[in-house]
Symmetry: D2
Subunit: 430 residues, 4 copies
Amino acid sequence: MLPAIDGSPAELARRYRSVRAATLALTAPLSEADAQAQSMTDASPAKWHLAHTTWFFETLVLERFEPGFRPHQGAYRMLFNSYYNAIGQPAQRSQRGLITRPGLAEVLAYRRAVDERVQALLGGDPGATALSLLTLGLHHEQQHQELILTDLLHLLSCHPLLPAYRPAPAPAVGGAVPLSWIANEGGLVEIGHGGAGFVFDNEQPRHRQWLAPYALANRLVTQGEWADFVADGGYREPRWWLAAGWDWLRTHRIEHPLYWQRDGAGLWQVFSLRGLQPLQRERPVVQVSLYEADAFAAWSAAQSGLPLRLPTEAEWEHAAAPLAPAGLAEGNLLDDDRLEPQPAADRPGLQQLFGDVWEWTRSAYAPYPGFRPWDGAVGEYNGKFMANQVVLRGGSCATPRSHLRASYRNFFPTDARWQFSGLRLACDAA
Amino acid sequence: MLPAIDGSPAELARRYRSVRAATLALTAPLSEADAQAQSMTDASPAKWHLAHTTWFFETLVLERFEPGFRPHQGAYRMLFNSYYNAIGQPAQRSQRGLITRPGLAEVLAYRRAVDERVQALLGGDPGATALSLLTLGLHHEQQHQELILTDLLHLLSCHPLLPAYRPAPAPAVGGAVPLSWIANEGGLVEIGHGGAGFVFDNEQPRHRQWLAPYALANRLVTQGEWADFVADGGYREPRWWLAAGWDWLRTHRIEHPLYWQRDGAGLWQVFSLRGLQPLQRERPVVQVSLYEADAFAAWSAAQSGLPLRLPTEAEWEHAAAPLAPAGLAEGNLLDDDRLEPQPAADRPGLQQLFGDVWEWTRSAYAPYPGFRPWDGAVGEYNGKFMANQVVLRGGSCATPRSHLRASYRNFFPTDARWQFSGLRLACDAA
Amino acid sequence: MLPAIDGSPAELARRYRSVRAATLALTAPLSEADAQAQSMTDASPAKWHLAHTTWFFETLVLERFEPGFRPHQGAYRMLFNSYYNAIGQPAQRSQRGLITRPGLAEVLAYRRAVDERVQALLGGDPGATALSLLTLGLHHEQQHQELILTDLLHLLSCHPLLPAYRPAPAPAVGGAVPLSWIANEGGLVEIGHGGAGFVFDNEQPRHRQWLAPYALANRLVTQGEWADFVADGGYREPRWWLAAGWDWLRTHRIEHPLYWQRDGAGLWQVFSLRGLQPLQRERPVVQVSLYEADAFAAWSAAQSGLPLRLPTEAEWEHAAAPLAPAGLAEGNLLDDDRLEPQPAADRPGLQQLFGDVWEWTRSAYAPYPGFRPWDGAVGEYNGKFMANQVVLRGGSCATPRSHLRASYRNFFPTDARWQFSGLRLACDAA
Amino acid sequence: MLPAIDGSPAELARRYRSVRAATLALTAPLSEADAQAQSMTDASPAKWHLAHTTWFFETLVLERFEPGFRPHQGAYRMLFNSYYNAIGQPAQRSQRGLITRPGLAEVLAYRRAVDERVQALLGGDPGATALSLLTLGLHHEQQHQELILTDLLHLLSCHPLLPAYRPAPAPAVGGAVPLSWIANEGGLVEIGHGGAGFVFDNEQPRHRQWLAPYALANRLVTQGEWADFVADGGYREPRWWLAAGWDWLRTHRIEHPLYWQRDGAGLWQVFSLRGLQPLQRERPVVQVSLYEADAFAAWSAAQSGLPLRLPTEAEWEHAAAPLAPAGLAEGNLLDDDRLEPQPAADRPGLQQLFGDVWEWTRSAYAPYPGFRPWDGAVGEYNGKFMANQVVLRGGSCATPRSHLRASYRNFFPTDARWQFSGLRLACDAA
């Protein structure tokens, strides 16, 4: 099995230009130094992202389907391999920031050269497999667009001066939206992708699942609610925490979300791609781990007396799918260029399902019944990560609109905090 | 909600005597030194197990329900608390082997004193809550019976001379049983415990789940099959492994199951509670991690061309429940005193479902829909461990028969290897 | 070269009985559990000390010189080897606490058996090499007598209840002795051992060294002075600390000597072999690292305006040698059975040079000019540790009197704190 | 006390221009990416070196002595502080590679601006303290010139393609020079700096020391000799190694000098600033740790039957001082631009004392008798590192000629390997 092809060769050619240009636009404000540095093993330098996404097209498409293929630079095959063991031993992940050569200009030239060759390939008749892998390459590049921003934000947060990626906009407007519950009766439902069009292998096959009645919060958990949790001693009280979360919290001396800090007067400030700003209570909380999200849910349950918890991914998808009928998600996404989650709108129904922040679910990342990885090297894309990771749903303010859908499964380890990860509460229904 | 009561006060009194005596029988062959040493943070000294199980009755039952309660020794409340934050700060888990005082004789006196007081309490009318917690205490002690053996085996494996817990028996008889597949059509099934009688909170509530058709292997994976996997380079080929498993394998230089070693001629030997013995191909493989089990399944799929995998816990329970109609599991269990997994019998149908080895499933340990932890301190028993652990089913040769049932959910991290953990393959049905 | 022989065979036989009995007396109060536990890699279980000192006689003396030698138990050769690579691969140091077999009774039987065989050997004419190694074995055992106490104290300090090795005595009497300075004009002096009688290879050869004029404090630094250092923020001010010491302090969150803690009222209490007691200002401070000792000297220099520092080992020995004319040191030593350092006497001259606490010097542990390790396996005794260790001088309240002399060089890493290590200040003379 | 002033203001101004220009020349071949990356905590990015050396002049000279001083950029005071606690909390050493802003161009502009201001200051009459600190700043910058090269070489060695800093020159000519011994009778000698002119505080005061007769090898140990050591199993035989060295070797799986690797045919290749080249037997071995140097000496002693060892720093200085009579060292130094150690010349007498490689001594880095750190913040320059480091002498092919002298004490930890560190053997004389 291979990825579905997402359009005619001409459409793919247009889409290719657009996606590749969007990546360049994201990295345009960066100096070569900004693009070089790697702030932790989990995060990659922007230059590496630029090169690796290009490597994907060169190695998985051109190498197999371009007549008379010759590598742009033979060494790039190893230098910019992320984790595909089928392609050879990748360079060490923790040392991506040490690949100073090629320089940024050479990487950009690499991009241009591969772009030309891909366009030439699309101008001919490369065949279904090539189009399939090329479609995958575009979605792959869109994933890396989000990672470019999350990794860059982490890098900037390590700089003692906390420089902003973009100047701060006017503060988000809008008052607080009261929390309410949207009930769903569940039953024997179907989730997963079943139709045509590109999806990742891990979204398939569509399959039945029984859901007990449940309710979802109308909106995301806010920074204000989270500040109340902190003020109530939430990070010092073991009873809210999973045992592994409590160990993690004590080992790393975690006391607040990743990019929060107090100013001289003790007031919270939040660092984002827009720089350091005072906490705004109505904005969704972001950059929290699954451990924190789960603890917040446990605390909220005790405060409210309700059986609150995180939703399962099936509950989330079952509720969200009708809101993206043509597969197109509406929300505060990368295309809106806000780069920060925004307060909810005061409207009836489920708000903020798509965009703003990825929503932690209570579902471990696991194969769907009947799951088959794609054939060939791209079989390593998703399946091999199905252990000790948890599913997040709904995209974020750093996710491209055309990359998102209701069946999309993002996944990260339980202690990951540098993504645009937040949460929505769920509740067992009577 | 509290644990169900498992019998009349008189029946509980009898059962109490029997369970407590069984624990003492297990530790009888140990010297004070054997009972003191702690070989790793995950494993506890036998003396600690003896004291902690007693602490459970004293702290959770006597302290609340015995008129005029006075502690046997005040300090034991902290020294022998495992992880109940609601009861106070426990002593450090990694330093249980440093609690040299009280000595073994004092701990045994502690056991006797608490036994007398519990029996006196049961002779009166302690009320439903006390009986409930006392029932839990008995099942808790049975869990620790298994842990006494797994922890002791690990300790003995760290001794350069590999001493045996018990002299080796005559080798198991019986030839190889061919692998075959028992199909199950699935559908909308129910799993979890729904009736009366004691179960853990994590086995509840009984709930519906949709199962696609599937098949289970008729027997466990054997040491011989595993030796073939090793010989085929299974531990050196990344494509069989989950990414986290491959990292784990390389970091810890894992090349075979935990207690395997080669003799001078390169032949496999296996260390068990019966000492070091030549590998017997027909015995079930044991002391493998989830990572290893999953890799073996991937390798087996490639060898056979079938969509092989580990079963889900729902598949396992749905298949197993009919085989333990009155709740009573048959199999090679602790009561049989073999202390090693045994070859399968050559009979039709599913063999070895109960006993021999815990079977790794492909299901993350998660709350069932509508799960509620028990009230009070015992609410910390199960729920707080529901992250980064995987469910195992079916009990082992170290599980007491009266402690096991089809709905029983054991759970360990993906890299845990010192338990009696093995596997049975599953297959997607057409 | 081999160790000097310390007496006639008959004298050695008497001395052997006495030294071996002293070891047993030290461990007599311990249970098998106490004797089994290992609290950190650097510390060994008392049972291991009992066995290893016996192994030394069996392996280095009996195995070579006893006619028809047969090992007491063949496996002990590896189990109780500490670090002699020439004798084979030793068991892992960090896992000495896991050697539960042989048990304590068997180890005591091993001692008795080897004792008989050594006495039999001494009854004959074993030759000079045997007598030489036997002499070394006695001094080796005396070193382990001190280690039995330091390692046991560390173990007891890890027990949440802080049990005492011996009941607390009446508090030490005596008022504060004012600090004064004993000047020494230095010049071209000789240090190191030059005469007959047993010394370690590292005390040789006697050699010349030029000393500038210097002065030594008349007494050790006291707990009261150290409490002033702490109260003045000494552990929070980087300027007093060696860079490596400051890193160490921050990494391990060090705020006071190893066995100090505050009571509920904030008053210092000190844990020792005599249990937990209120700090007594006049007692010497003990269980501090070289980093702490050096920082205290820097702080003292700033307080006093004097060029204070730690002494070099040559300064110390040059000043101390005349005070032990016949080689016999007077002071609060193990034979006095106080087991804690005592306040200084109010007498003129250098006090507390021998006994009480080992005194950190500012001298790295290095070979003396012309140093030659002993021949054979015992060449590994001292020389191979001459890197990243610092010399301490003068013995402690846990050092046997017959084991000490002015030329004795003890050595530990700069961060070691569990020994009876304290300090005396020195001063450059005008 | 303050550093000595190394010339008139006009001479210092000339020297300032020359030293600063030399730094720029070293970094000229680097891209911004090359200058940004940090390959390990011990190594710093070239950009950081460029900025930090400038920071030294700005903070320690301009800030105190420039009338109306205003900082170039206030934040640089913290960003480019290395370890001076007296100046404030420095940025984290391990994260120097994350300081992507200011960029390289801004750092170069910072250099130019400070250069102008320093020259203006020197044009006036800044006073003795300013001239003293300025002199220190120049020597400080020369130290960093060597570090720029050693840190860059380490960075390049982490790149999978092993790029060269400079194209490889023609191989060094010259045959093997036989090893011979130059005897020295020792006696009561003086070492340390006693005259006028700049030296570091740690080279003072000049003081007496007694030396037993000794001999030094006429030349450095070569790569060929080292290859013999490796071929003889030198890295697998514990008896050659210090105990701490053996632990280090096994923990890090050390099997050869840092930048050695085998080609496909098993032949040694050596990576240097000139790229990867076949091992040349006559070149001095370089990039070895003290542990390796000491083990080689022990192995050499066993091979030769002579009491070989590393020299002490006093022996080295006593022998070397006469060879640099006017304080000026001759040898293969940075000014020669060879950037690699060269084979010895076949001449009588001690060769290669200065330049080529720093020579490990057997002397722990310790204060000379009467040592006083400089006053003020620069008191942190040397003294606080006097623990667990060993002295190296003689400079290397990366040391500027005007920076070196016979009394110069370099120092590194016993496991440091990325410096131009090699060795010369010494021998006890009869």
